[in-house]
């Protein structure tokens, strides 16, 4: 189908704005303007589509746009910042589902296509469908709907069988195009099942990497279906995202020191490996902790995953403000893989209103721990584990860590003796200058605030 020039032009402008928008998003100063630019691109592309001559089912189309768009808009506006990862997952899954559905209609119409076109339609449908169900599982896990890692007896064998069957059905569809409805149906059922089964055994902590991977998948699926539709704007947007997402996934896996294959196909071993640690953990109460910080000259706060799940960032910032009022110098030290997504802590602290100039990277701040009176570790564990420096048998050996142990005193807020993401014991907690402050990060920060206020 050849499109009139104004429709094509609208799509072209859309693609152009997407590229400029994404480029803008890659630097903090222009990031906000970037998403707005890309947003205009989307509006232009959608508006142009309405001008396709002889477009049918207009009422249905408007209803679908309104329902889908409004539901997502509202949920996106209301969701808490800490729940962002699962929202990204679910929206991404929907994109994958849409790409698969486009292919389904192509197959159902059964128009004659070239082999190249059919192959790309099938491949796009397959990865789109996998991304759809896989992302739904990712959402369910992060949202807490699905609690445990649900692992089949011969998990990897089942994965392989499903993958082979879906590819086989895909080849069949290419071979005997136009395909029978039952073949089409079977193909999609297996593909959707594959996404489910592959994702279910993956632990919640690995999910950000998986979400990024599915994001790349959806991008590729959109790009391939764009070719099927002869629409270069879809191709460009899809492939740009596919390439960017693939690279991002690799960067994340690398930052976590786990190869991607490992995340996808091997269960996380709660290893318990590493040298045995001797010594005892010494407790401290909130009043003493508050006093230590109130009369310190310099406090460095190390936030971690625990702060995120406890939604404690606002309280922590309130506490910081009180300390600064009292003349204490407070800085935040952010480890690159603190939390569960790249930049997780930065996003949360930014949400709470912590100004940029108080937040420091590992490289910037590590030398300063020696001059700090107190290092306050809030729900962080692996990122301050000194075994990473010394213990070759530890699974996190070699990961650069924040040198919280070098501070005069260390206070660790956590709920109990739970290990972090990597499952290893933390030698820091047993050192002489370390005190444990047991409790959920949010109420505990609140308690410290109360004590600080009474201390004046």
């Amino acid at each position: 189908m050849t499109m009139p020039l104004y429709v094509q032009g609208g799509w072209f402008i859309g693609a152009l704005l997407f590229i400029f928008g994404l480029k803008g998003m890659s630097s903090p100063a222009s990031a906000r303007q970037g998403i707005v630019t890309a947003g205009y691109g989307m509006l232009v592309a959608i508006a142009a589509t309405f001008f396709i001559p002889g477009l049918q089912n207009l009422a249905l189309m408007l209803a679908a746009l309104l329902i889908g768009g409004a539901a997502a808009w509202i949920s996106g506006k209301q969701v808490k910042m800490t729940d962002m990862p699962q929202m990204v997952a679910i929206y991404n899954g929907m994109g994958g589902g849409a790409a698969a559905a486009i292919a389904a209609i192509e197959f159902a119409k059964g128009d004659a296509h070239s082999v190249v076109t059919t192959v790309l339609a099938v491949v796009g449908a397959l990865i789109g469908a996998v991304s759809f169900t896989g992302s739904c599982v990712a959402w369910a896990k992060l949202q807490g709907v699905l609690k445990k890692a649900w692992r089949l007896p011969a998990q990897n064998a089942v994965n392989v069988i499903l993958a082979v069957v879906s590819v086989g059905l895909g080849v069949a569809m290419i071979g005997c195009a136009p395909a029978e409805p039952v073949l089409i149906l079977g193909f999609f059922v297996i593909a959707l099942l594959l996404g489910l089964v592959v994702t279910l055994p993956i632990g919640g902590a690995d999910m950000p990497v998986v979400i990024s991977l599915f994001n790349a998948f959806t991008g590729l699926a959109v790009g391939f279906e764009g070719y099927v539709l002869g629409n270069p704007a879809l191709i460009i947007a899809g492939i740009v995202v596919g390439a960017a997402g693939t690279l991002l996934t690799q960067l994340m896996a690398k930052a976590m020191n786990r190869p991607l294959s490992n995340i996808l196909f091997t269960p996380m071993v709660a290893s318990g490996a590493g040298e045995a640690i001797t010594g005892t953990m010494k407790e401290v109460n909130a009043l003493d902790a508050a006093a230590m910080m109130r009369y310190a000259a310099k406090v460095i706060i190390v936030p971690g995953y625990g702060m995120a799940v406890a939604h404690a960032q606002h309280k922590v910032w309130e506490m910081t403000a009180i300390l600064e009022e009292a003349g204490v110098e407070v800085k935040f030290a952010i480890h690159p893989v603190a939390g569960r997504m790249p930049g997780h802590m930065n996003v949360l602290l930014a949400e709470a209103g912590v100004p940029y100039d108080k937040i420091f990277d590992l490289d910037e701040i590590n030398a300063e721990f020696g001059q700090a009176d107190v290092a306050l570790v809030i729900g962080a564990n692996d990122v301050v584990n000194p075994s990473a420096r010394t213990d070759k048998s530890s699974p996190i050996y070699g990961m650069p860590i924040l040198d919280a142990d070098k501070a005069q005193n260390v206070i660790v807020i956590k709920r109990g003796k739970g290990t972090g993401y990597s499952g290893v014991e933390n030698a820091l907690f047993y050192t002489d200058n370390c005190r444990m402050l047991y409790g959920d990060a949010q109420p505990m920060a609140g308690e410290i605030i109360q004590h600080l206020k009474t201390l004046g």
């Binding site: 249905l60 679908a64 990204v88 790409a99 119409k109 539709l229 960067l251 996003v347």
Partner: protein, 93 residues
């Protein structure tokens, strides 16, 4: 569509995507993941094209489903990304 030209477009687009991400600081990884998630929401355009040609009830149903999902991808992706980046904005003041 000419497969050869499409191949060139694939190649250039992949290069562009790679270049855009390659030098991004870690703190922007999550917003950028979300932003690229928004961009592939343009699949809604493809879905609209298909629904606009759907002539059986089954095709219409799938098309409706596709447009709604695509619209959700685009709208949700935008809102979530914009909210995250608005915070980065505030932070720099």
């Amino acid at each position: 569509m000419d497969a050869l030209l499409a191949l060139y477009i694939f190649m250039l687009a992949a290069f562009t995507g790679y270049e855009i991400i390659a030098k991004v600081p870690v703190i922007l990884h999550t917003p950028l993941m979300s932003g690229s998630n928004f961009v592939h929401g343009v699949v809604v355009v493809g879905a609209m094209i298909m629904l606009g040609q759907a002539d059986t009830p089954v095709q219409q149903a799938i098309g409706f489903f596709a447009v709604a999902l695509g619209a959700a991808n685009a709208a949700g992706g935008y809102v979530v990304t914009e909210r995250m980046l608005a915070m980065f904005k505030k932070k720099e003041l």
